[in-house]
């Protein structure tokens, strides 16, 4: 079973995303900021990461840079999922090593399309 780490400071978003991704057969872990997420990745590197941008403690962008510098941190497919919906943010995220980018609000079809795009489904 593929593992997906959902990182978002909103428990509602995490719940919605969990329901969608469990429907696609993923085993889910959750984190509410980048710091917690890095700890989770050190314990076990997931196959997929759904990543919010704006979060307390450590934001999604900082997390992504730290992740890609970790041993084995190049392996997970990272899909940003954020309200930041301008080209400048998208370009910054992609240059930092994101694989895909979802602009909130999202639905099941969008998550499915993006996860298919990076070969996770």
């Amino acid at each position: 079973m593929k593992r997906c780490l959902i990182i978002d400071d909103s428990s509602v978003i995490r719940k919605v995303a969990r329901r969608i991704l469990e429907g696609f057969g993923f085993a889910i872990t959750e984190a509410s900021d980048g710091r917690q997420a890095l700890d989770a990745c050190m314990k076990e590197m997931p196959d997929a990461i759904l990543l919010d941008w704006n979060m307390p403690v450590m934001d999604g962008y900082e997390f992504l840079r730290a992740l890609r510098a970790m041993p084995g941190g190049d392996r997970p497919k990272v899909v940003f999922c954020t309200t930041e919906n301008d080209l400048a943010h998208i370009a910054r995220a992609m240059h930092a090593g994101a694989d895909e980018y979802i602009m909130k609000p999202f639905d099941k079809e969008i998550v499915e399309a993006k996860f298919q795009e990076v070969g996770l489904i």
Partner: protein, 289 residues
Amino acid sequence: MSPQDYEFLCKLLKERSGLVLAPDKQYLVESRLLPVARKAGCDTLEALVRKLKAPGSEPLKVEVTEAMTINESFFFRDKIPYDRFRDTVIPDMMQKRAVQRKLRIWSAACSTGQEPYSLAMMLDGFSTLAGWQFDIIATDISNDVLDKARSGSYSQFEVQRGLPISMLMQHFEQVGDQWRLSAKIRKMVQFRQLNLLTDFSILGQFDAVFCRNVLIYFDQPTKVDVLTRIRQRLAPDGYFVLGAAETVVGVGDLFSPVPDKRGLYCPTVKREAAPKLALVSASGGQRVA
């Protein structure tokens, strides 16, 4: 809605667009036509039907037909047809048209434009096609969807279904809350209003025709008629692409499936007309004459 009214609407739609509605599609008619009815000042579908039967109802008939034939569309919908286009059709056509350096492609029933624009973005990605001329003709029965298609503007939802983020970054600009395709890609596609039931020989000859998720709405004789005329518009060495759920079974021997390339067809070449084609080479999977 009374059975008589439903029957009236079904007959109207069949005559005008070829659309065949099953008896259990009343809900679809209601959901799509109630907004049209309200716009026309009718409270109910009964009132709409009365108005359609009255003299001078031609514009309303057009509107009803358009509302019923609109299809939801995504960029790179179903993925596989586009993989076929990129991996089989383009490489093969690059050889076959190496002298002319020109490709003509028809997106039949293009709806809001995602299909022809997806093809245009794909062609634009081939550096080996630099200097080639592309004619992408995109047609639909509905003027409403063509207006939207021509604008090349899509909502945030629409650009996230099937469109890779790299292509969004490369080919779109943000205009307010919409995403607009670059002029370069928009200029590659020419949109025209066309009802597939009418003569379309004026469009000329194509190297590839995409006709996806349209024929499923037609009855068998209509399907055969449309396919026969599409076959006439397709170059003998060209390609024909159908939707994921469609086949050419039962429509005679107009098209033959390309082996191991589901959804991709080529015009059937009669033995007496030309030597039999070897359809697939063992190595590259490309079609060779």
